[in-house]
């Protein structure tokens, strides 16, 4: 291989990582002269930091997180897109009688702190005439689905619409998901690839994006065969009902052009966060979305 690349995921391997796993399994990386080592994080806030510190070459992050990181001065760039729509969603428990975000007044919302809650949830509430102060935000760590299923909170923010919703369904919990982009929050890319702005390797990234694009195309064309190949990556942990359901829901979410970027969308979302005081400086999208092709 011409290049060795280490890639750290945002979470344990799940259908969101379909294109990466397929590119790995079907040898698309190898075709591009890449040898990619896939690592899973234990603490989801670590991957971008490790990239910034030069310990890994690439990581999966989220657009809002990247904006925060860049605003804080971390030497990061977006190198590609994995999922180009929002996935994050506000899930409510049907039995708590919530029909719309407007009913959330006085309720408890479980979050797994990502730093953007005040802007996103606050905007959704405002959209329905409520204030951020009307709800109680509770950090529930990584037990998003469990805290909702056990009724300790009335809603959760931070679960993904293609994953945690299915998890709840499998636990026989009746829940409804409200999508932020339908309630006043600007749209954004949920999952992106990031690299170190000082040391990134243009050629490697180009090759990486090509392999991902080819894998995504294959998945969209042959979802069932792709599923089999996805599962074969680690049958022990991947072959279960939850992943099967999540796979279906992820098919329409993968970015068909991983290298493509809409700078205006990044600037718009950054402005949105700046307006809500989430970031103190306003980075320009062009600065952390270098032209690689």
């Amino acid at each position: 291989a011409d290049h060795e690349l280490s890639l750290m995921l945002d979470w344990f391997v799940n259908p969101n990582h379909g294109p990466i796993v397929i590119a790995h399994e079907k040898g698309y990386f190898a075709e591009q002269g890449l040898e990619v080592a896939i690592q899973e994080p234990a603490d989801p806030s670590m991957p971008p930091k490790l990239v910034a510190a030069g310990k890994v070459d690439m990581a999966i992050s989220y657009q809002p997180t990247l904006t925060i990181d860049v605003a804080a001065g971390l030497p990061l760039i977006r190198s590609g897109t994995l999922v180009s729509t929002p996935l994050n969603t506000l899930i409510v428990l049907d039995e708590s009688g919530i029909k719309s975000p407007a009913d959330l007044s006085g309720k408890k919302i479980g979050i797994s702190i990502a730093g953007t809650e005040e802007a996103t949830v606050g905007t959704m509430l405002k959209y329905h005439g409520l204030e951020y102060g009307n709800v109680e935000m509770i950090n529930v760590g990584w037990s998003l689905a469990a805290s909702l299923a056990s009724g300790k909170v009335d809603a959760v923010w931070g679960g993904l619409r293609n994953f945690e919703t299915n998890q709840l369904e499998l636990e026989n919990v009746q829940a409804t998901a409200f999508y932020p982009e339908e309630h006043g929050v600007p749209s954004y890319d949920e999952l992106i690839f990031v690299a170190n702005s000082k040391s990134y390797d243009k050629e490697a990234i180009k090759a990486f994006n090509s392999a991902i694009e080819k894998a995504t195309t294959y998945i969209v064309n042959h979802p069932d065969a792709a599923w089999e190949e996805f599962v074969s990556y680690s049958p022990d942990t991947l072959d279960n009902e939850l992943n099967a359901m999540a796979w279906e829901d992820s098919l329409t979410r993968f970015a068909l052009r991983p290298a493509a970027v809409d700078l205006a969308r990044y600037d718009h979302y950054a402005q949105f966060m700046f307006d809500h005081g989430i970031i103190k400086t306003l980075p320009k999208a062009a600065d952390y979305n270098p032209i690689i092709n």
Binding site: S45, I113, I138, N139, G141, V153
Partner: protein, 264 residues
């Protein structure tokens, strides 16, 4: 004049000086730490998102102290109640094991097994049982604390010199009064060890509790700061936590010295 100066210092005065000396020592050791910290940053060229400079942390401490104080207050309550509970449970188990041989045989393996379960692992489940209020954090702190207290106290209670036990026997003490008047006093130094360990790790319990479920407190603040890449704020919270441990340790140390004057 010379004569007066040559006189030994009055106890009160020399006590004040020794306090000053202690305070100075703490101050110097903090300074050394700060210098080492800055040195680490300089030598290994650590970026600020991994380890912020002491100065930036100091800035946060001075500028954002109202917020820090609010969260500190929450965590302080959790720590103190957790300590009370954990130490009580620890003492209770130790006494149980001392007094009732069957309890020891059945309880001890369970207690030990329970300790090996990382609180982090059961923390999320604990939250689901106890709600996200103060109770779950207090429980976390108590769980972390009680085992060192139990072990040290039980070991201390077991090691009463035989002569004293004989004395209690011939003086007609029943097991309760023997415990209270003979075994507990001799166990105090060992119990002291347990307490010292307990107070130092109590803050971790509370913070870990906050990490898996909370809406306020230093742990919550740290998560929030971490998510927003305000690492200096996170370290400011860490600094306050450390202060807690140090302060608790020296308070307990001082208290124990008062309580065990017959012991070196």
């Amino acid at each position: 004049m010379l004569n007066v100066l040559a006189q030994p210092l009055s106890p009160i005065r020399s006590r004040r000086i020794s306090w000053l000396k202690k305070a100075l020592q703490v101050l110097i050791s903090i300074s050394v730490l700060v210098v080492l910290w800055q040195a680490a940053i300089t030598i290994w060229d650590l970026p600020s998102f991994i380890l912020p400079t002491p100065l930036s942390v100091f800035d946060v401490l001075t500028e954002r102290y109202p917020i820090l104080f609010k969260h500190t207050w929450v965590t302080a309550q959790e720590i103190l109640i957790g300590l009370l509970l954990g130490v009580s449970i620890g003492l209770f188990f130790a006494l149980q094991m001392l007094l009732f041989a069957p309890v020891r045989r059945w309880l001890l393996p369970i207690l030990i097994a329970s300790q090996a379960i990382p609180v982090f692992a059961i923390a999320p489940i604990l939250m689901l049982w106890l709600d996200y209020g103060i109770a779950s954090k207090v429980a976390m702190a108590a769980i972390i604390i009680f085992f060192p207290v139990t072990t040290c106290c039980y070991d201390g209670l077991r090691s009463t010199p035989q002569g004293y036990l004989d004395l209690a026997h011939t003086l007609g003490a029943n097991r309760w009064r023997r415990l209270w008047h003979v075994q507990l006093p001799t166990a105090l130094p060992a119990l002291g060890s347990g307490l010292r360990v307990a107070v130092v790790i109590a803050p971790i319990g509370a913070v870990v509790g906050e990490w898996v479920g909370s809406s306020a407190g230093l742990g919550y603040l740290m998560l929030q700061a971490n998510a927003r890449m305000m690492i200096d704020e996170m370290f400011a919270a860490l600094f306050i936590l450390s202060l807690f441990s140090v302060a608790l340790y020296f308070s307990v140390d001082w208290l124990l010295k008062k309580l065990i004057p017959w012991h070196a």
